[in-house]
């Protein structure tokens, strides 16, 4: 119990710290980047649960993000439970609504798909992601192809705190999950499904569980996205977005939560850091570099930056402490 309390405290302190820094120290451009970092951390960590820890390759993450984003946007446009001083309590409601719907979608997608293996699972999840996007494109109630505009929400101190609070919560909850008996079940399914089945683990149930939890956090990330950009368009949730998240996970290391955080930060900052290059050469090479990185990563260091180690397993920490 103490561990959990310490975890939450750390999350709150970090979130407050980053928000204060952002509000008082950074300009609008940098603040936007911070929000994207929070969103990407949630996406990467949740995808890592399915891809890295459970070994099921899902390419449809953008679809769940889209569901979460649109649902929470619709809820916030039509429904204001708390007014006035208690307004800060509104946002968690929108977020959880989005997350739950995304989780439900994850269940519907996962149940039939998780029977498939490897390549086929990847393609089917890709398919579902695209179907979700095309459906949203054709639903007039969410604006269809024109998109949904005027979603309430801004990028001030409270919003920043919310974003990082939820990002921290995601990482914390997933950390606890992975270091529990569920986590060991996920790993066993990844290593050898048939052996896991022999050991009495209901592999289908485990896989669907991982999928649903992962979709919840993807939906939560989507709702933060919706409320910071104030406008949604199905074009933001194409296959390329899913690939973005895959790059983050692969770069950080599949099977390492710290890796996902690191990967998310790098992948968010890299295109912005490369923007001067674009202005210099007048040509947008960012996506080219992006995809080239993915190829080189898979050929030369498929384990990613951290492999499957977490931050407390790095050699860095062992140097001076006598009792390792």
């Amino acid at each position: 119990m103490v561990a959990i309390a310490r975890g939450w405290l750390l999350v709150i302190v970090v979130a407050l710290g980053i928000s204060a820094l952002s509000y008082f120290g950074l300009n609008a451009y940098m603040q936007q980047i911070l929000f994207y970092i929070a969103i990407n951390v949630m996406l990467a960590a949740s995808l890592n649960l399915v891809n890295g820890f459970c070994g099921q390759f899902s390419l449809g993450h953008a679809g769940f993000m889209a569901v979460g984003a649109y649902v929470s946007a619709l809820v916030s446009l039509h429904f204001h439970p708390f007014e006035g001083a208690l307004e800060i309590l509104n946002f968690p409601i929108y977020l959880i609504a989005g997350g739950l719907c995304a989780a439900a979608m994850g269940f519907f997608v996962g149940m039939p798909s998780l029977r498939l293996r490897g390549d086929y699972l990847a393609i089917v999840t890709l398919g579902f992601g695209e179907i979700i996007r095309v459906t949203l494109l054709n639903l007039d109630v969410v604006g269809g192809a024109r998109g949904l505009y005027g979603i309430p929400g801004n990028t001030d101190f409270m919003a920043c705190f919310h974003a990082f609070f939820w990002a921290g919560t995601t990482v914390l909850l997933l950390w606890r999950l992975v270091h529990s008996s569920f986590g060991r079940a996920f790993l066993s399914v990844r290593e050898d499904e048939i052996a896991a089945e022999c050991m009495g683990i209901n592999t289908t149930r485990i896989k669907v569980l991982a999928f649903v939890i992962s979709s919840f956090f993807a939906g939560a990330a989507g709702s933060i996205f919706a409320h910071t950009t104030n406008a949604l368009n199905p074009a933001s949730f194409q296959f390329v977005k899913s690939v973005d998240v895959v790059i983050m996970v692969v770069m950080g290391g599949m099977g390492s939560l710290t890796g996902s955080v690191v990967g998310a930060i790098i992948v968010t900052i890299l295109p912005e850091a490369l923007r001067p290059l674009q202005e210099y050469t007048h040509v947008d090479l960012r996506m080219v570099i992006y995809s080239l990185t993915l190829i080189l990563l898979m050929i030369w260091r498929p384990a990613g930056i951290l492999g499957s180690r977490e931050w407390n397993q790095l050699k860095f920490w062992r140097k001076n402490a006598p009792a390792a």
């Binding site: 820094l21 120290g25 300009n27 451009y29 192809a145 505009y149 368009n233 402490a321």
Partner: protein, 382 residues
């Protein structure tokens, strides 16, 4: 424990660097420059729109700078490409306003992208002039949003009247683009007026920007035996549609709106687009002196005949420059007030008066496609 301390110190150092990047002071009045932002689709399916508009705008601004600028200050045009995507339009407009600190915005041609950017311009109170977005919703986004062209509630009925009265058509089919606010709005207004006049819309089919195959929709249309097909879309798809129409043996006349205006229309559509009519913001054969004057200057600078988008861009830039000249000071609000007062400005696309809805009351030119040339047919007013 020691390691932990080291890491925390390192983080603090990094963060302290980040702190130094705070907002550089506001104020878009740098000593000798006036910054104007332009956002358009320089690449993508409607690339010629952005590129033509850009040429027209530059013609106006370069001429003004050569004549001494505004109150001695040079006008700097900062252009951003939105690649034809609405979310990109929103992002670059945000960048132009918050990072480049422009005092005014020019853009966009496509209504969908203008609609994406308008709320942002309104939020930051930067005046925005769209040279050729025709969907009525654009200017409804706020009192800082203007346009120097006509709107679809006018353009649709114009084509309907032309089809009914001039071409004596009674049965028309519509093929519209579901991804484009422009297409949906224009087809709605056309259909309403055409039915009012006594005509019949025999079939209404849809497609999406980016589609290349329209045989399914056209086969359905063929069965309804229309005399003409109204295609309120952009030139790339129109070209492909026209070809496939003739491949299916459909002899109906093709009608369209200002989205057809591009040199690429004939390149893609070939003979299939010959003999079609569409409504436009201007015609190169118009006898109005201001139009011919613009064409002459444009040919001098770029060695080619301008299309409607370039003319519209030129006019929008001129209206902005005029407003800046008349404004007591070069601030967004003052410029905005002057734009609203624009009256009887003789532009290359006609006489521009900004009315109470921040739109321009103008006439529409109907042109006929004949190879690479657009022949002037008639001028229709409200």
């Amino acid at each position: 424990m020691r390691r932990l301390n080291q890491v925390l110190v390192a983080i603090c150092c990094v963060l302290s660097f980040a702190c130094t990047k705070k907002n550089e002071g506001g104020g878009s009045e740098a000593a000798t420059e006036i910054k104007v932002g332009q956002y358009g689709s320089m690449t993508g399916g409607e690339a010629t729109f952005g590129q033509s508009t850009d040429k027209g705008i530059r013609l106006a601004i370069d001429a003004k700078n050569a004549a001494g600028g505004i109150k001695g200050k040079k006008i700097v045009l900062i252009t951003e490409d939105n690649q034809g995507k609405p979310e990109e339009a929103a992002a670059v407009v945000k960048k132009l306003i918050t990072q480049d600190k422009v005092v005014a915005l020019l853009g966009e041609v496509a209504s969908t992208r203008s609609l994406a950017a308008a709320p942002i311009a309104q939020q930051y109170k930067i005046p925005m002039i769209s040279p050729s977005s025709t969907n009525p919703e654009v200017t409804k986004r706020g009192d800082y949003i203007f346009r120097t062209c006509f709107i679809d509630p006018f353009q649709g009925p114009v084509m309907a009247r032309f089809a009914y009265n001039n071409l004596k058509l009674r049965k028309v089919a519509i093929l519209k683009d579901l991804k484009s606010d422009y297409s949906l709005g224009l087809s709605e207004f056309f259909a309403k007026k055409f039915k009012e006049l006594g005509g019949e819309i025999v079939s209404e089919q849809t497609f999406q920007t980016g589609d290349t195959d329209f045989k399914g929709q056209l086969t359905r249309i063929r069965s309804s035996e229309p005399e003409a097909i109204f295609i309120p879309a952009y030139y790339t798809e129109v070209g492909l549609i026209a070809r496939q129409t003739r491949q299916l043996g459909i002899k109906a006349i093709l009608l369209g709106g200002d989205g057809w205006d591009s040199p690429k229309l004939f390149e893609i559509g070939r003979e299939a687009v010959n003999g079609s009519y569409f409504s436009n913001h201007y015609a190169s054969e118009s006898p109005v002196p201001a139009t011919q004057d613009f064409i002459k200057k444009y040919k001098e600078k770029y060695h080619e005949t301008p299309d409607g988008l370039a003319a519209a861009g030129y006019d929008a830039a001129q209206v902005l420059l005029l407003a800046m000249e008349n404004a007591p000071e070069i601030t967004p609000t003052a410029i905005r007030d002057q734009i609203a007062k624009t009256k009887d400005y003789q532009g290359a696309t006609g006489k521009i008066t900004i009315n109470a809805d921040r739109n321009a009351d103008k006439d529409a030119f109907i042109v006929k496609v004949d190879g690479k040339v657009l022949k002037f047919v008639t001028l229709l007013g409200p």
